[in-house]
Structures are given as structure tokens and as C-alpha cells.
């Protein structure tokens, strides 16, 4: 096995037994990046020298007796909207060109404390707005399973670099599905924790009441390991929840007999592709065979979640993105006669089309005379959506749905129609609007493209989600399939 193929827990075992060094694993990963990054284009920045320095330091500390934790020496990538001190953080936007934060995001700090080694920052839809990573202001990332298709978005870079074995794990951020949908399209595990479970300090804000950071990994056990490292309250984030964090690994390898799975009829009717419905149906049968109970239920406001989200999130974005004015950081349009012109020209040339569209929509929804009709109405609908879940969870422990209505689509297919693009998130958005935790795990393939199964849990019950996800994963050995780069690397494309 090549070193770059190792999962987090496999690499940890070898480092702990002193069979390999952190530097050896890192060099394997850096070679892999060189080999496939030309096709995948998942990284905005590769921090090669920084990573080598960190890996060598860690090896020295281990030689001097440092305890080897589960992430010690493990290479990883951060989505480029998480601040890393003195390392470029661009949100894949021209407006943050050259920005090097003077501080670290809490998640990055926690991973570094564990000895994990930052290998690079990953491409994303600009300011996390999009479902395909085609809205990056820099370049488009490709789906490792088929480079003519999108990796999903907005954490498409993070999902693609994990799927193509460029790093054992990466962090993404999820506002309306931006971890789970790319995880589904790229065939990896992606978890959105409960809102407040992970500190958002140092995460560049998109829609503050929805944004949440989470892991993208090769398997469920790795997901639990990364969750252990990044979860927990943080005084630097006033929305961080003061809730105890369990050992998520204690849920791995446990039976799922007796756990009740809810099946909501609405998730099998809203524009879902027949082949996806079929694969998800088999996954549900599989979970039943493992001893889980099945409860039919209804989440009647599901179809209202998407329109409500497309008022709430742009409204919050229009407010959050007002800080990009060309004065304190990032790009500035120099040819202006006064301050107002500096603002207008900087923002017009610095932001891409999708960001401008959402700022316009959000500004409209918050403007005088329209606030009640649009923004307030959407926040009330959000209550109805949340109430649906509260009611449903009285009768079940997890809810199982497809992650996305289709497999990955062709690049360029939806770029002209924003509404069509927004529909890709139809199954992930209700969860985000309710602040609930959910994971997407690979559950099958359609014509060689992965399909994701979404498992939704009660607030702060990520443990049960991981228990179910792990049991499913263990029962489906064919899911160890990997994208085949051989033909591409040898000049097949």
C-alpha cells in the first residue's frame, strides 16, 4: 500500500509503532499531490515548506518521548475560509487576494496542538456560496471520479483532495450542505456537526446562524477521530455551545440493533433521480438487516426549506460581506476619486457573479419595506421546519435520507441557472436550518459515480450518527472503491 492511501487511524498505528516517521508520510502525500493535482485542482495553496518543518519538528519531539496522539504527524488540509496565521486565506475570492491573517482559527489551533500537519488550503466556491466549486474566483476543481464532473460545493476542494488521496483528511464548512453534498459527489465521509458544537472563531463568516465547520475523511472512524479534536466550547466564539464532548470513537464498532431510523416520505419525492432512490432504498434495507427499526414519518415543511434558506443566508451574507471595502485588507481598486467609488469599484471587481447576486438578494430582503415580507417570514418558516424535526425525533433516533437528489453533474451544466443549482441542496438545507448534526457516507455507485446517504441526528447526538454510519460502512466492503487515476496520469485524458 502507498503511504498516501493510509487512513488517519492506519497512519497513526504505524507512527505509534515507529514503523514510519511523520516526514515519510508527509513526503508520500506531497508526491501524490504532485502526481494528481494537475487533474484535480483541489488546492489553492500547498504549504510544502511549512509542512516539512512541522513534520520534522514532530519527529524530533516523538524521538524525545512526546506522546503520539491520534492525529500526531497526520497531514491535513483546511478549506480556504479558515484563518491560518501568516498563510494565505483567500476564500477563493479575488477580493481577499494576498490576505495573510494575523491569527489562527480555533479549529486550526486545535489540530496543530494535536500535532497534525497542515499541507494546504483547499479551493471552494467563493465565500462558500455554491454547490459545485465552479464559483471559485480562482479556478474550478474537478471530481476525482470523473474530471468532466463537479466535485460539489462549496467544500469541493476539501472533498476532492481526500477522495484523490492527497490528504488523509480535510476540514470543510457547511452552511446549507457544503460538507455533505461534496462528500456525496466525491464518495467520502463528510459531517456537519450540531450548530455550536465546533468553534467558528477564525472561520470567514458567510451566514453566521448556519455556518458550521466539520471533517471530510476516508472512513467513519477517521471522522470520529477528527471530531474528537475539533469539538468543544470556545470563549472566542459566543455561539459555541457549552456542552460536554463525548469520546466519539466510543461509538465506533457498536451494534445498531434497536436504533430506530426515521424515513421521511418528502425526501423521496422532491426531484430525486430514480437511480439514486434505488441505491438509497437498498441502503435502508441494509440498515434494517443490521437490526435497526424503521419508522415512516413526515416532515411536511421540507419543500419550504430551500426558499426560506435563500432569503436567510443571503441576508446574513450581505451583512457579513459589508466588511470587504478595500481599506484594511485584500484587493483595492486604485483608480477611484473618492471613498464611495473605492468601495463600489473594489467590491464590483473583487466579488464574483454568485457573491454579487446573493449580496443583492440579501440587501433586498433586509431593505426597508421588505424585511417583514421576506426575511422575517423566512425566519418564521425556519421555526416550522425545526418543529417538524422536533416532532419526528419523538419517534426515532436518526433520520435517513439521500444526501443529494442526483450524482455529480457535468461541469457547466447548471451554471446559467442559479435556481437549478440551488436545488442540489434540497435535502441538506432543512438540516442546516434546524441546526442539527448530519453525516453523508458513501452508500453505492451509479455508473461509477458515488451516491451519498445522509444520516441526521438529534442536537448534539453526533455519537449515534457515527455509530449507525460505522455499522453501515462495515457491512459494505465494496465501498473501498477508489477513483482510478491510472488512465489520466498515463495520458488517458
Amino acid at each position: 500500500m502507498n503511504l498516501y492511501e493510509l487512513k488517519v487511524h492506519e497512519a497513526h498505528d504505524l507512527i505509534k509503532q515507529k514503523k514510519i516517521s511523520c516526514e515519510e508520510i508527509l513526503l508520500g502525500v506531497l508526491d501524490r499531490i504532485e502526481e494528481v493535482e494537475g487533474i484535480v485542482q483541489g488546492f489553492v495553496t500547498v504549504t510544502r515548506d511549512y509542512a516539512l518543518k512541522k513534520a520534522r519538528e514532530t519527529d524530533k519531539k516523538i524521538a524525545l518521548g512526546r506522546k503520539v496522539g491520534p492525529l500526531t504527524g497526520i497531514p491535513f488540509a483546511l478549506k480556504d475560509n479558515m484563518c491560518s496565521k501568516d498563510i494565505l486565506t483567500t476564500c477563493s475570492s479575488k477580493i481577499l487576494e494576498g490576505f495573510k491573517p494575523p491569527y489562527n482559527a480555533t479549529v486550526f489551533e486545535r489540530l496543530e496542538e494535536q500535532g497534525a500537519v497542515l499541507v494546504g488550503k483547499t479551493n471552494m466556491d467563493e465565500f462558500a456560496m455554491g454547490s459545485s466549486t465552479e464559483n471559485s474566483g480562482l479556478f474550478a476543481t474537478k471530481n476525482p471520479w470523473d474530471p468532466s464532473r463537479v466535485p460539489g460545493g462549496s467544500s469541493g476542494g476539501s472533498a476532492a483532495v481526500v477522495a484523490s488521496d492527497q490528504v488523509p483528511f480535510a476540514l470543510g464548512s457547511d452552511t446549507g450542505g457544503s460538507i455533505r453534498q461534496p462528500a456525496s459527489y466525491c464518495g467520502v465521509v463528510g459531517m456537519k456537526p450540531t450548530y455550536g458544537r465546533v468553534s467558528r472563531y477564525g472561520l470567514v463568516a458567510f451566514a453566521s446562524s448556519l455556518d458550521q465547520i466539520g471533517p471530510l475523511t476516508k472512513d467513519v472512524k477517521d471522522c470520529a477521530l477528527v471530531m474528537n479534536a475539533i469539538c468543544g466550547s470556545d470563549l472566542k466564539d459566543s455561539t459555541s455551545a457549552p456542552v460536554d464532548v463525548p469520546d466519539f470513537c466510543s461509538f465506533i464498532g457498536k451494534e445498531v440493533k434497536g436504533i430506530r431510523m426515521g424515513i421521511a416520505e418528502e425526501y423521496f419525492s422532491l426531484g430525486i433521480d430514480d437511480a439514486v432512490r434505488n441505491v438509497i432504498g437498498k441502503a435502508i434495507d441494509n440498515l434494517e438487516n443490521l437490526g435497526m427499526g424503521k419508522v415512516e414519518l413526515s416532515l411536511p415543511h421540507t419543500s419550504y426549506a430551500l426558499p426560506a434558506y435563500y432569503l436567510v443566508s443571503p441576508a446574513e451574507a450581505s451583512s457579513n460581506l459589508s466588511r470587504y471595502d478595500g481599506i484594511r485588507y485584500g484587493f483595492r481598486h486604485e483608480d477611484s476619486n473618492n471613498l464611495l467609488e473605492t468601495y463600489q469599484k473594489t467590491r464590483s471587481r473583487g466579488f464574483g457573479a454568485e457573491v454579487k447576486r446573493r449580496i443583492m438578494l440579501g440587501t433586498y430582503a433586509l431593505s426597508s419595506g421588505y424585511y417583514d415580507a421576506y426575511y422575517l417570514k423566512a425566519q418564521k418558516v425556519r421555526t416550522l421546519i425545526k418543529n417538524d424535526f422536533d416532532e419526528a425525533f419523538k419517534n426515532c433516533d436518526v433520520i435517513v435520507t439521500p444526501t443529494a437528489p442526483t450524482v455529480s453533474f457535468k461541469a457547466g451544466e447548471n451554471t446559467q441557472d442559479p435556481l437549478q443549482m440551488y436545488l442540489n441542496d434540497v435535502f441538506t438545507i432543512p438540516v442546516s436550518m434546524s441546526g442539527l448534526p448530519a453525516v453523508s457516507i458513501p452508500c453505492g455507485f451509479i455508473n461509477g459515480l458515488p451516491v451519498g446517504l445522509q444520516i441526521i441526528g438529534k442536537p448534539f447526538d453526533e455519537g449515534t450518527i457515527l455509530q449507525v454510519a460505522d455499522a453501515f460502512e462495515q457491512s459494505r466492503s465494496f465501498l473501498n472503491m477508489k477513483p482510478n487515476f491510472g488512465s489520466f496520469v498515463r495520458g488517458g485524458v
Binding site: Y304, T342, R347, M360, Q379, V381, T383
Partner: protein, 95 residues
């Protein structure tokens, strides 16, 4: 409610965005399309429903009122597009 080109110009001004004539055309059409789509929310009776601004009950978090070392002037200015004598330099404000 139908969105007009004039509305788009007004919103752009509020959002501090300069948009070209082509963009105005496109945005009028696209925003109209999206606002038509969200009209579906009007089907729901929400008069007696409280809005959810945050999904879980949150308390204010207070840090102890202790003096701490702030970011240095150098760190604050390290990303400034333009600076002079330790200050951000901007285009003229007074006409």
C-alpha cells in the same frame, strides 16, 4: 412583486456595488426569478409563529474584563492595500 431595473440600481447602491448595464439586465431577470420562487412561502400561515434567529437558546458569553495585549500596529496593517506613517491610507473623503 415584480422587481424592476430601477429596484436593482437602488439595491446595488445600498450594497455598495457598481454594476454594468449588462449586469443590471441579468440581475433584474435572475432576482425576479428567485423572488418568484420564494413566494411559495406565502402559502404558510405564520402570524402566530415566532421567528428562529438562532436554532438553540443561547446565553451571552462574557470574558473577564482584563487588559490584554492587542494585535500590534504592524500586524493590524500587514494586509493594508495602502498605508502611511502607521495609518490606513484611503481616497479623499471630503469633497
Amino acid at each position: 412583486m415584480e422587481i424592476t431595473k430601477k429596484d436593482v440600481e437602488y439595491i446595488a447602491k445600498l450594497a455598495r456595488l457598481e454594476i454594468s448595464d449588462d449586469e443590471k439586465e441579468i440581475l433584474t431577470k435572475q432576482l425576479g426569478h428567485i423572488l418568484d420562487y420564494v413566494k411559495v412561502l406565502d402559502e404558510l400561515e405564520t402570524e402566530n409563529i415566532s421567528p428562529t434567529f438562532h436554532v438553540f437558546p443561547m446565553k451571552n458569553v462574557f470574558r473577564s474584563d482584563k487588559v490584554k495585549e492587542p494585535l500590534s500596529r504592524e500586524e493590524v496593517l500587514q494586509n493594508a492595500p495602502d498605508q502611511e506613517n502607521g495609518f490606513f491610507k484611503v481616497a479623499r473623503v471630503i469633497e
